[in-house]
Subunit: 340 residues, 2 copies
């Protein structure tokens, strides 16, 4: 099959690689209908994470089941499925506690920007739609493989509550999905920190009541003014840098939680400042499978349209352009559609 | 009056200092009936915190209201009161959110090991008992000024829940109160990490179902074995050192919270390890006034007896011996009784 590979910083190719094969009876192979580029793919793209030369890249996709292993009971070829970026058996102690991203049989999608993806623990991981979905629904369904559940996880980890206030640090696709999550959860005031006009607009569409364009100390000061000098009940840190975390902690009100979902790069948590104000932090990889049924229902009922984060769609073969567009912030998030 | 002062490392004196005076109409002066030494007093005692030569020390006490300012409505001379170590108006936005330790009118007790203590925001801070309590109840009432609410706060911050599992790192008086708190909150399995036989005994009396005497990696391994290899639903970090925090994070199950109440000394939070397992941390100074009504009712109903943490009582004038006994770990916590 053809799939996206990375050969070095800014060296993305769409090329022939070995077809995935069922290795375990719990595996499934999914023919990818649509994939996309994740903000976290930009870390290796920019040379900030180690790269294994020629490795496939891409962990988000939706598609049609092509083949299943002998022990897969709930799925059959032809089913349209959402593929969570992290695979789980959904039965171990960690899954039962709602932390499917720490499953004892954890796996990840490794060729979501390719023609086929191998899914481990298919019965535990996959969620099927009712029949083949309308093309119009495709972007929102695709967002459920990672970006929307990750924004949702930030809101859950930050303990967003009905009638409360929330601040979202980061206006990437995850941050925007965090705004949407906070809105669905009933936060009354939602401050999106964003400098980019198109992203500000989408944040407002997703439920942001205020936008603060400044960053750092100045930005934190403006956010606090919006919140009556008190700080936020819940803060979603959707970047992963030390500056973003610093801002997140400083806009949290005493006793609040910061939910963080950006893979930490150079973060040093200011434990004494946290202690002095009883501000907590929790976050990590989203337990996608936990949130999927609820989020799928919201999408299918038309209550949320997280697919709006895709402001550019390209054929899968033009994946290198997709990376460039996201790297240069010309696109919020790029959807890659399969040829067939 | 006479009060305890600190003049340098291990130089504790009981000597004449100026009487406290009502400075604001919301102040009250309390004649101390009993005070005590806090684990956090040992940081300056050991020279690990800066010292202002000759400053009074001691922030825990109970006593009888001696005098009140013109705006104090709820208390009058003669009332027996518990004095939270942190004073609060109990009306500001932070107090209303249950974070009285971040009150906009925050104050602290500074002569709790003396004959009289000045209390700011008396109406918001103090809680009176029903009449003058029995002498037998005194230790438990005294524990409500700091140590018991602080252990309780660790359990609240760690999200201890009924039927869950909890681990308490630290067998000082706060850790032991944390065990008691987890027990009251209904944790089914409570592992106390303690090397000292008398503290192990008290931990069991307070509700610990298991005791692990080892520390560091070995201790963490033993705790995990007790918990079926899964880790704890909630972890209470009641020390404040980097080693204790490291142990706390490593025994937390994925998705769990570590509640920390020891003033951080040299802690570096391992953000990547936390992210990889979705383990969160939250803690800080306990909002004593928030918990006081509930804890006082538990004490008065005989449901808890946190006063057992006091295994030595000395006259206030022998306070230097009290510090020595705690420093050398000959006593868990020392109560200081006033002369009169």
């Amino acid at each position: 099959m053809r799939a996206t590979t990375i050969h070095g910083p800014r060296d993305i190719r769409f090329e022939e690689v070995p077809d995935p094969e069922i290795k375990r009876p719990t595996d499934a192979i999914v023919k990818v209908v649509a994939g996309c580029v994740c903000g976290s793919d930009l870390w290796p793209y920019r040379g900030e994470n180690p790269i294994r030369r020629g490795a496939t890249i891409g962990h988000e996709c939706v598609g049609v089941v092509e083949e299943v292993g002998g022990e897969v009971r709930d799925f059959k070829p032809g089913d349209f499925v959402i593929v969570p970026f992290c695979h789980c058996d959904n039965t171990c102690a960690h899954c039962r506690a709602g932390v499917q991203s720490a499953c004892t049989n954890l796996g990840v999608t490794t060729s979501g920007q390719g023609e086929y993806a191998l899914v481990g623990q298919a019965d535990g991981s996959l969620v099927a739609t009712d029949g083949v979905p309308d093309a119009a629904l495709l972007p929102s369904l695709l967002s459920l493989s990672d970006v929307m559940p990750t924004g949702w996880h930030a809101a859950v980890s930050a303990r967003v509550r009905e009638g409360g206030t929330a601040v979202v640090v980061g206006d990437g696709a995850v941050g925007l999905c965090g705004v949407l999550a906070a809105s669905v959860m009933g936060a009354e005031t939602i401050v999106a920190m964003s400098r980019h006009e198109p992203r500000q607009q989408l944040a407002k569409e997703f439920g942001a009541t205020h936008v603060v364009a400044s960053r750092g100390r100045e930005g934190a000061q403006e956010v606090k003014e919006v919140l009556g000098g008190i700080g936020a009940d819940a803060v979603l840190e959707c970047v992963g840098t030390d500056e973003a975390m610093g801002t997140a902690i400083s806009v949290a009100r005493p006793g609040a939680m910061v939910g963080f979902v950006g893979v930490p790069h150079g973060i040093e948590l200011p434990v004494r400042r946290m202690f002095d104000r009883n501000v907590g932090v929790q976050g990590g990889m989203a337990p996608v499978r936990r949130y999927l049924p609820e989020l799928l229902a919201l999408v299918q009922d038309g209550r949320i349209d997280p697919g709006k984060v895709f402001d550019l769609t390209l054929p899968m073969a033009e994946v290198a352009d997709a990376y460039r567009a996201m790297d240069e912030r010309r696109a919020i998030k790029v959807m890659l559609s399969s040829a067939s």
